[in-house]
Point group: none
Chain length 414, copies 2
Amino acid sequence: MNAEIIAIGSELLTPFRQDTNSLFLTERLNELGVEVRFKTVVGDSLKDLAAVAQIAISRSDIVIFMGGLGPTEDDLTREAVAEALGIELRRDPDIVAALYKRFAARRFTMTDNNKRQADVLAGAEVLHNSNGSAPAQWLATRYQDGERLIMLLPGPPHELKPLFDAECLPRLKRAVPREYIAKRQLKVAMIGESALDARIAPIYTKFPEIQTTILAHAGEVQIHLQSRADSQEEAERRVSVLAEKLEEELEASVFASEGETLEQIVGYYLQMRGETLAIAESCTGGLLAQRITSVAGSSRYFLGGAVVYSNQLKTELAGVSPAIIQEHGAVSKAVALALAEGIRVRTNATLGVGVTGIAGPTGGTPEKPVGLVFIALTDGKLPEVLERRFPGDRERIRLWASMQALDMIRRRLI
Amino acid sequence: MNAEIIAIGSELLTPFRQDTNSLFLTERLNELGVEVRFKTVVGDSLKDLAAVAQIAISRSDIVIFMGGLGPTEDDLTREAVAEALGIELRRDPDIVAALYKRFAARRFTMTDNNKRQADVLAGAEVLHNSNGSAPAQWLATRYQDGERLIMLLPGPPHELKPLFDAECLPRLKRAVPREYIAKRQLKVAMIGESALDARIAPIYTKFPEIQTTILAHAGEVQIHLQSRADSQEEAERRVSVLAEKLEEELEASVFASEGETLEQIVGYYLQMRGETLAIAESCTGGLLAQRITSVAGSSRYFLGGAVVYSNQLKTELAGVSPAIIQEHGAVSKAVALALAEGIRVRTNATLGVGVTGIAGPTGGTPEKPVGLVFIALTDGKLPEVLERRFPGDRERIRLWASMQALDMIRRRLI
């Protein structure tokens, strides 16, 4: 079966906004063996939207509309799809009642335009939206030569994603002929995309039946593997053979094999080893702490940290002696090590990390250029420090530095 | 005039890849007064591609095809567009010669399939591609009811962008009736999209000639205004009138009128007022510091901060007395205030901020649910503290909390 995804909203036709929901939906659809054949973006015009709906319904088995389900005059998806299918909209009294209740709970008065959200395509099932007021709709119908599955989903990603997983996925699984797909997502830190490809291309090209995609993203490279077979067992077996060969080649550079983030992996090892972590960071300015604490439950192993931009704070919060800063400069191996050890001692953590560098765009010198970063890790007995020169702008340098620090913690723990 | 952008390539229909060229093209087209009405993504299938081309050419004045111009069997854009227009492809001997030359210069032998890159739509101009082997094409032609401008551009952004600017833009400027466009981008913090719209719709709907787009994004709402006129002066004047009326209505809620970020604005005010800032954050885990330090030059006003996940660190780094934590709990007004004042005193900053809350998903109680956040700000004389209950998941709660803290600093300084 094939699918078409339609993103609706004039803002998606500006230079500022881009549909990203379709990537999520494509992943879910591919897992069911459904291929996405077209993606379209159309604005909030009834004429344009109805035309796009008409074309999509005539050529694709599954058509997913995203957005345009809200209460305003610009929200025209219901009307356009009804027009394209030549069916009616019916106002659902249960939805109207639920809307009244939702507004009352927040002590708002509901204006009349909100009732438009209760208009349902004749024959469609209403799908509950836990994170927004506009319900979604699911319609299985005959159109010309065949069966069609049509979904009307809300546009905001935090509404669409949980709704799709809870309501659409089970229905799709029943409706779509079964195919078995197995996947792996290896992630590699601190190796460039082309250097990585040069090492692994001789391996994966020997497995043409496995779809291999290599993507560089924010300081890591992802290797996506996907295989299809007549049974889940066989699909898993095939993808495992290649994944193992790649892991053999790349050894400890592979930090995840199920798509986990580096901060999740670091958290996992810290918890497993019973270690606790504290950090003192300068040029990353809180980014490292933020990444570590983005993992739910990180309070079990992350004690906290200091963001020490000024020299005074390096001393005040992380106990770095002013003499060390004086002698070596704030951006130096010695200060990175002093930050790591200082924050470790101050917080009683088992591991301490220190980061200092020049993120730019200003502040570089010929000896200490923009991009120079020192990263130190210590457990009180065995301190280590790395010197790196990261390319790119402020944002990329900070990102690479945080990546390197996380990878350093990981390598200490594995 | 209106335009349609078509991105070609099966990789753009996977979960991993996304067309971004269209954002660049949209910006350029909008500046000429050309509106983008549709965007389509289609794979490397002659049938699908010809169908998409046919639809686009029948409904849009300007049709831009991106990708599918290479030498491989998958590169089918030339054939598909010729088929859709019902015209011929002619092999251009000059291009063939140039291809031979290019290969010879790199000491490669040219395989025959490369000659496909010399196939030109009858009547089209060939546009030189300085960064790749496939030349682009420009065709001005009559189709059914009107004139059409059709462009075939290479897919890789580093080929497409310079080529478009050098070759297509001058031709478009001659072909498109001259229009003058003025823009504003107001940004508003801590007001919901629908509440904002309810307040400003009565104003902007009185200016139908100005295109108003409202976008909610990561805790802020953006109001994009765009006006067109016969002179730049008139366009600017029109958009200014509406922008001023909106700013009057929204008063201090508007934090930027030229698209600046909240952290840039906060940095601007801190520097202008000669203030320095330090923060002690718990539930935001470094996110607030990271946002503040994402601005180049932030070291001039940001001294640093403490990420204090554990109670011990709240005391150790931010000087919060254990008795206050004992009495009120770590998530409380009193602790937020103590964090703000403690870090301010400890660092000698003129302003201190404290954030404590429950980002979830665990750790909530009936009295102190997930999403409860206290944010305090003090200059040593006038402390203030906000209690908020943010909706959503861990990531959103942290984002909203950081936004609220930034907005609180801004309001203190304006």
